[in-house]
């Protein structure tokens, strides 16, 4: 038995981003190990979503380098890039379900694109994924427009997990959910993440999500990663942004519970 070669799940090296004349990031460095659950936090407009889009190859950084699962995002031909993209799953903020497809077809779509599985395999896999995100087989026939906010997120999670990714990136997974649903969804992400041995990167504003999920927290502010450590250590740091973000008056109770 030998383990696969251990390389960081995500490594960002000296990344800088410029939109027009404005520098969004300058010299961002971040290394996330495999199996970690990392939360990326930062104020609105600090470039969290931009960084996520760069991690998943939707946006090229102005300078610097990003490696996912030990491989560079770009170069090496279409085949290699495509193979790499199949090794991570993304949950977009609003789900990004294909509105013309039913729930079933949304989850089956990436599997069909592999062109290696027959209809029976795909059916079983889709039903399994639905069960994994705690939806019922009868939900498979619904269209995205008929789903509630929480269900949209679950279906999107099932679709992100369809290709058995090693790395899961979540953009604001609990935005727009009530505290109860949000709590359930966070629990689901944690259970699945642990069970499937996923590396999870979460962008979030929600302190409840953060405390429940993240083993480490990366704080993006002032154009770079201000701190990357366990939540306890970060809340102990003396920095105005961190102080306001984590210890602002109305947020105290979230941490104390």
């Amino acid at each position: 038995m030998s383990a696969p070669p251990v390389s960081a799940a995500v490594s960002i090296l000296d990344l800088s981003t410029r939109f027009g004349d404005v520098w969004i990031h300058r010299h961002v460095n971040l290394e996330i190990s495999r199996g970690e659950m990392v939360a990326l936090v930062g104020g609105s407009g600090s470039g969290k979503t931009t960084l996520l889009r760069q991690m998943i190859g939707l946006l090229a950084p102005t300078e610097g380098d990003i490696r996912l699962l030990g491989e560079p995002l770009y170069g090496g031909g279409l085949e290699r890039e495509r193979a790499l993209r199949r090794r991570f799953g993304v949950l977009f903020q609003h789900g990004a379900l294909f509105s013309a497809f039913s729930v079933y077809d949304n989850i089956a779509f990436p599997l069909r694109e592999l062109r290696a599985l027959d209809a029976g395999d795909i059916h079983d896999l889709v039903m399994l994924k639905l069960a994994m995100v705690e939806l019922l087989p009868r939900h498979a026939r619904l269209m995205p427009a008929e789903l509630s906010g929480g269900m949209v997120k679950r279906v999107a999670l099932a679709r992100a997990l369809a290709l058995e990714p090693e790395l899961l990136l979540l953009d604001e997974p609990t935005a727009g959910l009530d505290p109860d649903r949000s709590g359930n969804f966070v629990r689901l992400i944690r259970v699945l993440g642990e069970e499937l041995g996923l590396t999870v990167v979460i962008i979030t504003h929600d302190l409840d999500t953060l405390t429940a999920l993240a083993s480490r927290v990366a704080v993006l502010a002032e154009q770079h990663i201000l701190a990357f450590d366990s939540l306890d250590k970060i809340t102990g740091m003396d920095h105005p942004f961190i102080h306001n973000f984590f210890l602002g008056g109305r947020r105290q109770h979230a941490l104390s519970t």
């Binding site: 079983d124 069960a131 058995e164």
Partner: protein, 378 residues
């Protein structure tokens, strides 16, 4: 051992102590690995699974995800084999699949002949719904008009003028170009025939009647249906998708009064003007072609036009423009309000809007042609 041989999923047959035989699985049974070898693995697994008394040893499987588990599960005919050794974390995946199997199944849609009848019934019901919605839309607009007569202050002037500009003024270049070119083509083709009979002068009658009474209004209606009708459907559709219409309703603003009524009024006003404009352009094109082809002087064409084409034809053409304008706007808005919040529905309704508008225009044109058959013909 090197990495490659370990990673690939492998099936080995091993002799059992008791005389039976065992199958040992090893390697990485993950989706990524499996997609490369699916064609070999499936029949091999099925061959072993078909025999009874096979001992399965899965302890050496390095990694297994749900795709690998499903492959085995299907080979084992959806139950764990009697003799199985596997790691607890892999057994857990099989438990998951087993419990997913026992979820209440959904009955598949039957493929019986009843389906055709259901489909026909569905489309008839759909047609009835469409018609009743359309009539309700006309009713609502009549109520709006009555309301505006009582309260003229609420007239949505800004929306009407904006729509007039968008669907009227902005349509002038394209209607002029198309009208002019059609005039040239029609005049050229007629001139070829008329020349053979020495009936050159009748080009004025042919062009005048054909364009003023028939071609002008229909041409403009088709262009406007494609241009403004589809835009109205798409706009209302997207406003429904983004809940803007609901937002209007919560502000106490009537959607029909603010969104639909101005569109219908604007197109009812703009279309006769566009018909006049396109007709003039088509006649101009006809005059130019007639001059070149038949040597017919511009002045002569201009002077004999009123004699050849009684003015009633112009009124019929303008009336048609008005009716077609109302029709195109109504159909566009009707389908816009039917859009469901998904991309497929948006494209289907936009297509339906244009096709229905053009069909309705031709249909109404035929009705008007019959109703006015005694008018305006010299």
């Amino acid at each position: 051992m090197n990495m490659d041989t370990i990673s690939a999923p492998r099936i080995e047959v091993v002799a059992q102590d008791g005389g039976g035989y065992g199958v040992a699985l090893s390697g990485r049974w993950t989706l990524e690995m499996l997609t490369r070898q699916m064609t070999e693995l499936k029949p091999a697994l099925a061959g072993h699974a078909a025999l009874t008394n096979v001992a399965w040893n899965c302890l050496d499987i390095e990694a297994m995800d749900s795709a690998g588990a499903i492959l085995l599960w299907r080979a084992w005919r959806r139950k764990l084999p009697a003799m199985l050794q596997a790691r607890p974390e892999h057994l857990h995946i099989f438990e998951r699949i087993d419990s997913a199997d026992h979820q209440p199944a959904v009955s598949a849609i039957s493929n019986s002949p009843h389906r055709i009848i259901t489909a026909i019934g569905g489309s008839v019901l759909n047609l009835i719904h469409n018609l009743s919605d359309f009539i309700a839309l006309i009713g609502q607009l009549s109520l709006d008009a009555a309301y505006l007569l009582r309260r003229p202050r609420d007239m949505p002037w800004r929306e009407i003028t904006a729509n007039l500009y968008k669907s009227g003024v902005r349509a002038m270049p394209v209607t002029a170009l198309v009208g002019f070119l059609i005039g040239i083509v029609l005049s050229y083709l007629s001139a070829l025939q008329l020349k053979r009979f020495g009936a050159d002068i009748f080009i004025v009658n042919i062009l005048g009647l054909g364009i003023v009474r028939e071609l002008g209004p229909v041409l403009v209606a088709v262009l406007v249906a494609g241009r403004s009708g589809s835009a109205m459907t798409a706009q209302l559709g997207v406003m429904r998708v983004t809940e803007e219409i609901d937002a209007l309703a919560t502000m106490g603003v009537s959607q029909s009064l603010r969104l639909i009524f101005p569109k219908v009024v604007a197109l009812a006003l703009a279309m006769p003007l566009l018909v006049l404009w396109a007709t003039a352009m088509a006649l101009l094109g006809g005059m130019v072609a007639a001059q070149i082809q038949l040597d017919l002087a511009y002045g002569f064409f201009y002077e004999s036009l009123p004699r050849a084409v009684p003015v009633a034809n112009l009124w019929i053409g303008l009336l048609k423009g008005f009716v077609f304008g109302v029709l195109v706007a109504l159909v566009g808005c009707h389908f816009g309000l039917r859009v469901r919040p998904n991309t497929e529905s948006l494209s289907a309704n936009t297509t339906a809007s244009v096709v229905t508008a053009i069909t309705a225009v031709i249909l109404v044109d035929a009705i008007i042609a019959i109703a006015t058959r005694g008018l305006g013909l010299p």
